[in-house]
Symmetry: C3
Subunit: 474 residues, 3 copies
């Protein structure tokens, strides 16, 4: 894939503007720009790579599924129906055409100025589709046509793009009840792209997840274990973990409201499980059960070697009328203050000394970078810091992450970049942003004589490839 500058993308974009620093940053960036992409944490659809079906059209690919895009449009008065998003169980009377939605998007593209979404999209438009004039009301129709035509060509099918993107490994995320059939198809195919799954047990370990009780029953049916008992439930989870391991999983992922962990006795755990399974439980019991399940998952990780990831602190589906009309993941998840120090102590006191245990922590609460996360990761051998996440997966967010964690945790207690995305086409853009920002940060340290240039180059490489591979055991 050529990387020549286009009208949309300047080759020095995101590098610090001061000439000396920029010069150093450019050199560091040139050293990592073409390294393969390691994507150990994301949410793309494995069906794409199993079936290799062409993508439908620009709107269905780039707008409808991307909550970064439609949350901004929604915030300025565009209704989701106008974007072709259908209320649950109520297909829109007159389907909005993809072309019309794209035009509406072009009309509002100025809203994204200063946001990472704008940078990712311009990268896709410029690098992938060769577009050179900015997207506006006037150029929207042209954009739609150009992208639409390209999507129909062989070079733009999922596997071809995966290869062109130079992706060495891509992890997707599935729930324990998933059959992993697409991963099996990929494994059995003659395509050598490496797509692995990740074990995300929220639907069967969070009593407040929609359908939890039914999910636990289904888990029993799937595994042949008696999930009406605590021991059977744990055995079923162990079995599914093994199944995920067979489909390439090296990690689990836990999306809890808080970072709370617990270390209850067998009896207390069993009683608590009975309560939450019955459907009659308090919020505190739900919270305590999730807390205990993190510790149980840690115990299983120590047995089977899977790396744990914890993503707390999102208030999901904050807009209740919207949730009732459109369901989850509609851009209405809002971060809340998150506490880690007391919350993680039960788990850490039990497993913090295990030599082969790894727990990767993420946050949406940047105040914890310097106050809690870097001090914790700078002490506990099992802890590593995930990169700036979600709302903070952005130039300023990444810069703050490095500025606020490095002095206490160093670089080597971090795990490289995660793209964390559903938007497959944006993956190279996102990794490119991370490489540029990290190189800019390193260049400043070099220019301020806090680091030698050879060290900075080594670190840039580590942040791009090595740390992800070692942390995720790839």
């Amino acid at each position: 894939m050529t990387r020549a500058s286009t009208g949309l993308l300047h080759p020095d974009r995101l590098l610090p503007s001061e000439p000396v620093v920029r010069g150093i940053a450019r050199e560091l960036y040139n050293g990592v720009r073409d390294l393969p992409i390691i994507s150990p944490h994301g949410h793309t659809d494995p069906a794409w790579f199993a079936t290799d079906t062409p993508f439908a059209n620009p709107t269905d690919l780039l707008i409808t599924p991307d909550h970064y895009v439609f949350r901004m449009l929604f915030s300025q008065g565009v209704r989701l129906e106008q974007l072709g998003i259908e209320p649950t169980g109520q297909p829109l009377d007159r389907a909005t055409s993809p072309e019309a939605v794209w035009q509406l998007f072009g009309d509002h593209y100025h809203l994204f100025r200063g946001t990472p979404t704008r940078m990712w999209l311009d990268h896709v438009f410029g690098e992938l589709f060769g577009l050179e004039t900015p997207l506006t009301s006037d150029t929207a129709a042209l954009y739609f046509d150009v992208i639409n035509q390209r999507l129909a060509t062989p070079g733009f099918r999922p596997r071809a793009l995966f290869d062109a993107f130079n992706i060495e490994l891509l992890a997707t995320t599935e729930a324990p009840l998933d059959s992993l059939e697409h991963h099996a198809t990929i494994q059995a195919s003659d395509w050598d792209g490496r797509v692995v799954t990740t074990f995300r047990p929220d639907p069967v370990v969070d009593p407040e997840f929609e359908g939890f009780a039914d999910n636990v029953v289904a888990l029993g049916e799937l595994t042949g274990e008696d999930t009406a008992t605590w021991s059977g439930y744990l055995a079923a989870l162990r079995q599914r973990r093994a199944f995920f391991r067979e489909h390439g999983a090296t990690a689990t992922d836990h999306g809890h409201p808080t970072a709370r962990t617990a270390d209850l006795s067998e009896q207390d755990s069993s009683n608590l499980f009975a309560a939450v399974r019955s459907g009659s439980f308090t919020q505190e019991q739900a919270e305590l059960f999730r807390a205990q399940m993190l510790t149980e998952m840690a115990a299983m990780s120590i047995d089977d070697g899977m790396v744990m990831q914890l993503h707390p602190g999102s208030f999901r589906n904050h807009n209740q009328p919207l949730f009732e009309r459109f369901g989850r993941d509609r851009g209405a998840d809002i971060p809340v203050a998150t506490e880690y120090v007391s919350a993680l102590q039960p788990l850490l006191n039990r497993f913090g000394g295990e030599p082969d245990f790894t727990l990767i922590l993420f946050t949406l609460d940047e105040t914890t970078y310097s106050r809690e996360l870097a001090p914790l990761a700078g002490h506990y051998p099992c802890l590593r810091l995930g990169p700036a996440w979600w709302f903070h997966d952005s130039p300023e967010g990444m810069r703050r992450f490095r500025e606020q964690t490095t002095e206490t945790a160093g670089f080597y207690n971090t795990v490289g970049f995660n793209d964390d995305t559903r938007a497959f086409l944006s993956i190279p853009a996102r990794h490119d942003v991370a490489r540029r920002i990290d190189c800019g940060f390193l260049a400043r340290l070099v220019a301020e004589h806090r680091l030698r240039e050879d060290e900075a180059m080594e670190i840039a490489h580590a942040l791009t490839v090595d740390l992800a591979k070692s942390a995720y055991r790839l």
Copy 2:
């Protein structure tokens, strides 16, 4: 008003120092420097513009009423009495002369180094009074004389300054019991300066406000409504809002301790009103009543089109002995941590989808910029972010605001600058600081190729004029 550099003010002040970025910033700034001032949120005294009386002397104008000034002097051991501030109900035995207070101020002027107060005052001294040598102990007497003489000239009377400052609109803030006579006088005058009021109901909606119960009685007398009943009380508020609308108000302003909102039933609201009106209520009842009143105010805003502003998070009158001696607003208000996500949900779930509703949020807790406020404003159509406020209305504070909100909320979910000041002379200085800092931020984005220069110019204009006009419906 000439803007030539003086000994106190460098023409490039506050622009980033790196030459390339400064060059871009200067160009952006030149494009907005002379645009009119829109001041939709402030606390100047409408009597000034109604009577157009000359200001008394430098001390009464610039020191005695400005809590930014005397809080710093007080923090270094200057007593308020030394500044001529009189204890409540106890006139000072021997009045401190304005000249002596000014000299004391000059003796301590170095304390303000690095603060925005210093920049605002130097702007006033240099641009308005043509002073060129720094204020020190030695020059204090000269300063007093020069300023004093100018204040006696016609060009320094309130209306002349208003016109010279190129103010297109100035909003003041009044309580519901205010007669708005000064606004009526201004409206009836042949002066065409546009001064409007803002509806600030704290004294009649906050049960913990001094004199709340009496205020509610007075509200009934003023409106002829039976404010002993919940429905009469709401009707009285509606009537006063209409009265404020007639005097130009397009916005309401709410200064609550927290951002908590509630959505109680009619019956529960009525019972709660009875409790708080009786004077016998708990802190929790007071908090819940304020919470419900925000939702009631939102309902009225949807009816009458007034924009709502919410300023939570100040611990008022922290220094109790000082409060007892001197009363409120003596520089002893201290910010506290503030939560928005759960707090606003009741109101947002009820009115978040109303197409014509606008709620502008402010904060004194910068941790909420990236964690709560930008994600909320980047989703809810009714929400907009007010600018960096009060202690954060400063170069570094404004820079943090942009760095921490733009990537998630964009520029177009913000509302431009508010000066929020009682210090009339500082208004041009404050707007000038905001324009410089915003242009500096935009220039960095341009220099880092994250934004094109034509886009930056468009945004600079929007931040200076357009967004304030549209958000405040001017």
Copy 3:
């Protein structure tokens, strides 16, 4: 001490990279570089200066006692036993040789890239020991030998280093039960180095401190007061404070979990003291007792003139298995969110107006800089802000401190730099980092025309020497 650049240290290190700003910063730094070191808050061992015994070897001097060093090694899987740190009461079977520990340290030195520890150590290696090649696995043995040889020479004995470091005053920290014999020895010696003690009463005022009840008994024995009574206990504390004053103390230091203060009646205090002395008390009672003791200490400070220092917000000994095996101070203290506004109100309402009272506040929670600490210090005459502390005693941490406190509190409500260290050799490095970062911050203000250069020079001097002397009454 020569300060020529070596292979490890660039003369412009830590100064901003933009040439104009760097030029200004360099000039400011040159003006303060050689000023004497005032170290009013630290934790070195007074025995060093009393006995003037040579330091044993590089490992015992630079690694084993420094929790900054071993926490990072531990976080990457190095066990404390490998560093020669012995479990409590269990001497290691086969002592690890200092050479072997040093080699292990050299093997892992890359972990410190980007951390202040790396800068401090390189400063020591380069400036003090004349080493010019970086520390790596390959050079570790050479390093050990060079340092070891130098330590045996007269110029590297504690008093000679103290003099060579140009330390004007060094404060250590002792508990009330300490005999202060080393300070007496130093005072009686013919060496004119000024080493003073600091009164740190945690072991006798914190009911949750190990051995509290016994400590209170010992306090009685030491003073002849009846510490079984509240009044006797207070009298004993007063007596020890006087004793510390005689050994040079001008300050007290309080390391509480929170900033909570209380203002109980005599009777309630007495009852609470009886409860905590009995050993049978709740966590809330312990917290309330600490809170009351801060107010009691403030009362005594007003009597005897000692400056109070409060360091809240560290969750001590977070890793319980490690604490049980190795005891306290093993790098497992983790910061937590800290609240000051409500917490300090009882003390401030009682003593906030006392003209001769000084309370210096520190924090591990950077969110409080702009939200709570700067507004408090910018109002209360008794309050001053301590420098960026512990995990934040770092280039980025110091920069954030200035950026987030100056605009509200100014420079003159801060107290200069504290090194806060046990690592004697790192003292010049730490003060040098602070001088460079402060000069860099000032240089940016000058380059942005927010401060004149003569003012910046005056402030640089104040931050280096004057403010520490006045705040600590030296």
